[in-house]
């Protein structure tokens, strides 16, 4: 058989990658990613690279060049509250637009959803979750809890084996993303070499800088139609710096919680003032709302004693 006969009847000679980028909807997702997520430059860069690779791969396929489905399983490592779940959601959309997963939904699970409580309970449970995730992305948060080295009878190992098997045999059907804190994920990969070799993309999420956190705070407020007055903004800047030094700092999640508490205080302040309020007053957080936080007093009482 001649070479020409093997190729599909209508093989285009050239493919416009830039056009492909726009029409596939990938450009829109990346733009969304840029606009909605503050900071995270290295993560965005990696995602852009992955998207480029997949686009080129798709173009190769159209031209009849050799290609095999790339392994798309990933690991997201980073501290709490740096946006791993949010990015995973975007990733599912991206892979769907590129045609690497058929449905584009995200199934987010932790150890409890995969590992059973008695013998024979784990395998069906894990398979159930895997079946639900097929055609989309399976996001395993805090994946290292699956493996408990101190207990060799732990059922986590069984879940790991099924996961590995499906990750290998059903590469076309689902993408697995493991997420967790960097150091513990490293340990997890070291004791489960099977995972390391099956995961091609390791993406590290850096912590946010103070300036980025302030922008995140502002965008969160804007989303709820609140805003800082100048004093409030200044207080928030000081708050972020102080909060970072305290234990259990969870980046954007800490900020969200702080804002929720500030809104609580603002509501209380307006209520106690007893004066009529306008829209402006209802949507402004002031210095007092932020500075009443215990963070400025050096954290919670029991933490102060411990420190």
């Amino acid at each position: 058989m001649s070479e020409a006969a093997v190729l599909p009847a209508e093989t285009p000679e050239k493919i416009n990658l830039a056009e492909d980028f726009e029409t596939s909807g990938v450009a829109a997702i990346l733009r969304e990613l840029d606009e909605e997520l503050i900071g995270l430059a290295p993560v965005k860069q990696r995602i852009r690279e992955t998207a480029a690779l997949l686009l080129v791969d798709r173009a190769r396929k159209k031209l009849g060049l050799a290609h095999d489905t790339p392994t798309l399983h990933m690991s997201f490592t980073g501290n709490p509250g740096v946006g791993k779940t949010t990015v995973a959601l975007k990733m599912a959309g991206l892979l769907h637009r590129l045609g690497y997963i058929r449905k584009g939904h995200l199934v987010s699970v932790t150890r409890d959803d995969l590992v059973g409580q008695y013998i024979g309970h784990t395998a069906p449970k894990t398979r159930e979750v895997l079946k639900k995730a097929m055609g989309g992305v399976l996001f395993i948060d805090e994946a290292y809890y699956l493996y408990k080295p101190d207990n060799e009878r732990d059922y986590g190992q069984e879940a790991i084996e099924i996961l590995l098997q499906v990750m290998e045999n059903h590469r076309d059907d689902l993408v697995v993303i493991l997420a967790g804190y960097a150091d513990r994920m490293d340990q997890f990969f070291a004791s489960n070499p099977g995972f390391r070799s099956r995961i091609a993309h390791h993406i590290e999420f850096p912590d946010y800088t103070d300036a980025e956190l302030l922008r995140i705070a502002e965008s969160m407020l804007k989303h709820n139609e609140y805003s800082f007055d100048p004093g409030g903004q200044e207080a928030m800047r000081a708050y972020i710096a102080a909060r970072r030094a305290l234990p259990h700092f969870a980046n954007a999640r800490s900020i969200r919680n702080a804002l929720d508490r500030a809104r609580l205080r603002q509501a209380n302040r307006l209520f106690e003032a007893g004066a009529p309020v306008d829209a402006q007053a209802l949507s402004t957080l002031t210095r007092a709302d932020i500075e009443a936080s215990r963070v400025f007093a050096g954290g919670l009482a029991h933490e102060r004693q411990a420190g």
Partner: protein
């Protein structure tokens, strides 16, 4: 004897691609899919063995196909059918069911006539395994 029951049973057997397409249709309608198997295709045998629980909340046919393959491997010479359940009315209603595997040699049915009171006749249909 070629058994005809459920949808599509007068057509040639569905291949995997066609089964997958049917499953996709069911999932698009938010139906749950169950897999059942038996060696006794008697028309009155309504209780086939369940291959695990019916699968709820699936988005893609790949999960069903994975279970179907496992069921075929474990029961290579049995009848297997897929059943789709619709829950819109508050209980799981069977919306479609179709055979996805038959044994290589299918059983026959035999009919026994029995004389009872007077000259009336009762009929018993039973499966004859090959």
């Amino acid at each position: 004897m070629r058994i005809t029951q459920g949808c599509f049973s007068f057509l040639p057997d569905l291949d995997d691609e066609q089964i997958r397409a049917q499953v996709e249709y069911c999932l698009r309608n938010d139906w749950a899919i169950g897999i059942e198997y038996t060696d006794d295709p008697h028309p009155r045998n309504t209780y086939w063995n369940m291959w695990g629980n019916p699968m709820f909340d699936l988005k893609d046919a790949a999960g069903v196909m994975m279970e179907l393959d496992a069921c075929r491997k474990a029961n290579p010479d049995d009848y297997i059918k897929l059943i789709a359940f619709d829950s819109t009315r508050g209980f799981e209603t069977v919306r479609t069911a179709f055979l996805v595997q038959r044994p290589k040699v299918e059983p026959r049915f035999s009919m026994t006539r029995t004389d009872v009171r007077g000259r009336s006749m009762t009929y018993t249909l039973s499966t004859v395994q090959p």
